[in-house]
């Protein structure tokens, strides 16, 4: 079954083309990675697929919904963790997650909050104002809101940013388990080694254009995903984040 399908997706801002004719398919159960240098169109792609941005042309389907015509239906069905998104500064994580649960009309919100706070190690901070949390703690709360309703598809822009190494490993394990259970993950990341370790398929973008899609496990011989990425985008290795 297909979780995401795009056909000729294009987005222009005046004379600037952020995304050009993107066509790709993501199957259910995949851990799909979107790789690319800064300004390559990764965030634009996620914003279109999650109904936040209307494409200039082209079409998309997300869990059988059209994100342009039914943005709320898409956001009801999926989880989203955008880049640079924090919980509201003057609510506590418990209050914010309760708010998320109420808006999503979930049962047993309190139980879900405890489960996710425990899983992502912020139980001791549940009643602290978000403005007083560290960046890593805020990132954990945002991860929890994306998974609170146990969606079958989650979009994440840079899942491991600001997390300490121990929690990075725990989150990676969780993402893996999540996909093993038949769910789909759509990751956008600069961390090529993370994509290589986790993803079942990656797409490489540069200046809004799709250059290649690849299963990292099928790379030939000694070639790493980083080397493949550099040779594909033609970038100076120093510009690529490991």
């Amino acid at each position: 079954m297909t979780a995401i399908e795009t056909e000729g997706l294009t987005r222009r801002y005046g004379e600037v083309t952020a995304l050009e004719d993107l066509s790709l398919t993501v199957d259910e159960g995949e851990l799909f990675g979107l790789l690319g240098p800064n300004g390559s169109g990764k965030t634009t792609t996620i914003e279109i697929l999650t109904g936040q941005l209307t494409p200039t042309s082209g079409s998309a389907t997300v869990l059988s919904h059209d994100p342009v015509a039914e943005p709320l239906a898409v956001r009801e069905a999926i989880g989203i963790l955008p880049e640079r998104e924090d919980p509201p500064s003057f609510l506590t994580p418990r209050e914010y997650l309760q708010f998320v649960g109420d808006v999503r009309d979930l049962a047993d919100v309190a139980g879900r909050i405890e489960t996710w706070a425990d899983r992502l190690s912020f139980s001791h901070k549940l009643d602290t104002l978000a403005t007083d949390l560290s960046e890593g703690e805020r990132q954990r709360v945002m991860l929890a809101q994306a998974f609170l309703h146990e969606p079958s598809l989650v979009f994440i822009d840079e899942p491991l940013v600001n997390l300490d190494p121990i929690l990075q490993e725990e989150v990676k394990d969780h993402l893996q388990e999540y996909c093993d259970a038949g769910n789909t993950l759509f990751l956008s990341t600069h961390f090529v080694d993370v994509a290589e370790e986790l993803c079942t398929d990656v797409a490489i973008l540069r200046e809004g254009e799709l250059l290649a899609t690849r299963d990292p496990r099928e790379l030939a011989g000694e070639e790493t995903l980083l080397e493949y990425f550099i040779s594909t985008v033609g970038a100076d290795p120093a510009e690529v984040t490991r």
């Binding site: 609510l91 209050e95 945002m142």
Partner: protein, 472 residues
Amino acid sequence: MSTPTRTIFVAMLKEEWRLQSTLFGGRRFAAFPLAVLALTAGGFVLLSEAGTGQEAIVAGLHALVVFFGLQVGTIGLVGRDAMRDVLGDMTLLVFSSRTLPITWRRLLAIFLVKDLLYYSILFVGPVALAYTPIAIAGGQPPLEVGLLWLTLSGAFALGVGSSLTLIGLGSHHRLVGLGAVALVTAGVVLGGVDPVTLTPYGTYTDATLANAVAGFAPVVVLGVFGVLLFEPGERSQGRKRFALVDRLVHAVPDDRGITHKALFSVVRSSGSVWKVLFSMGVLFGVAALLLSELSRATAIEPHRGIAFGALLGLGGFTTYAWLTQFEDEGATLRYPVTTAAVFAGIRRAYLALVLPTGLVYFAIATVWVPISELLVGVVVFPLVAVYVYGLTAYVAGFSPTELLFDTPLFLAFGSGLSLMALPVLIASLANSAAPTIAMGVAVGVSTVAAAIGIVLGRLAGPRWESRLRTSS
């Protein structure tokens, strides 16, 4: 109210209280309505002693509250990115539509209702309450104060709704936004349109059901249009840069880069240089309306040049706030120049924006006001603007928006402004009785105020450098 709407509304109320009490301290925040009550009551006593009638006080009060609503509505010009710069690295619930199945417009509508309730209780409530002694002295029933509170709240909502609608129009078609302002101003001033009947003030003057419908319908219509038209404008990829504006910025003298940096922070942020034009245009429109109403309702013939000069000069505060919105206090200490040099650079940017913009409105006023009358205003205006700069820089430093909810600062700043503004505005009102003396007082007081402003502006640098070093 459906469950999610109630959930969002309650969460937003909680968030607002936490934001204010965390930023400014619970006691200071709680004292704010009392400060508004005291300042307003003092103002009423002064106006009554100066012979201003109750009708003129109430009319002026409605106009001022509309103006305040317009200013609050212009927060929409700021957008999320700049809100972060004003409030620090903070996020509000109104911006959570990216991750949840709620539309931005629904969140904005609930946010507006919350804001209206909040200002209606904490700001408009004390203002209406301060009117009680005058109402009782004038033999008006206490119920009249309740009606005043209701119509003032409506006037505030009218201001916010107008602002958001105009910004929404402006963001889609900039000229349409400006055209709408020009049309309303021209309609009021030249066309003989009586706007009073279409405002909550019309309901206050004649409280019938028909007047209530006519007076509050525009409030609802503009509120709905505001929510439908306004876009958050947080994406910068599509933002246009105007080569002409860039060239004008570079034409302003600047020795250490501070002036250009401050100017670019205004012209390249949401709303660009239009927000300065819009903000002062709103002030100008309200002043024109107020002056024409005053002439119509009373025997007073105010000096319009002096009044425009004083009010446009006071409007410089908003521009100062925009110029400093991206200024990080800590970062200024890391610049290889003194804090005094930073303030000097900001002062140059402030004058480069405020003075030409004000003069544009004086030029517009020549359509119906004699040039000889406006010339006095052209003298008063820059002097008042210099005073406003000096006072704001000295009292509030790089965080002028904090004035609004920090009661001691608010009192100090409000008193400082009143000391200059009241004599100048009273001189404008006393024009019919003694025109030469009125002009002399207005020019004399504003000259002294400008001198004080220059001194305060020079003291601001050392004062804030010392404060920042001690606190960091």
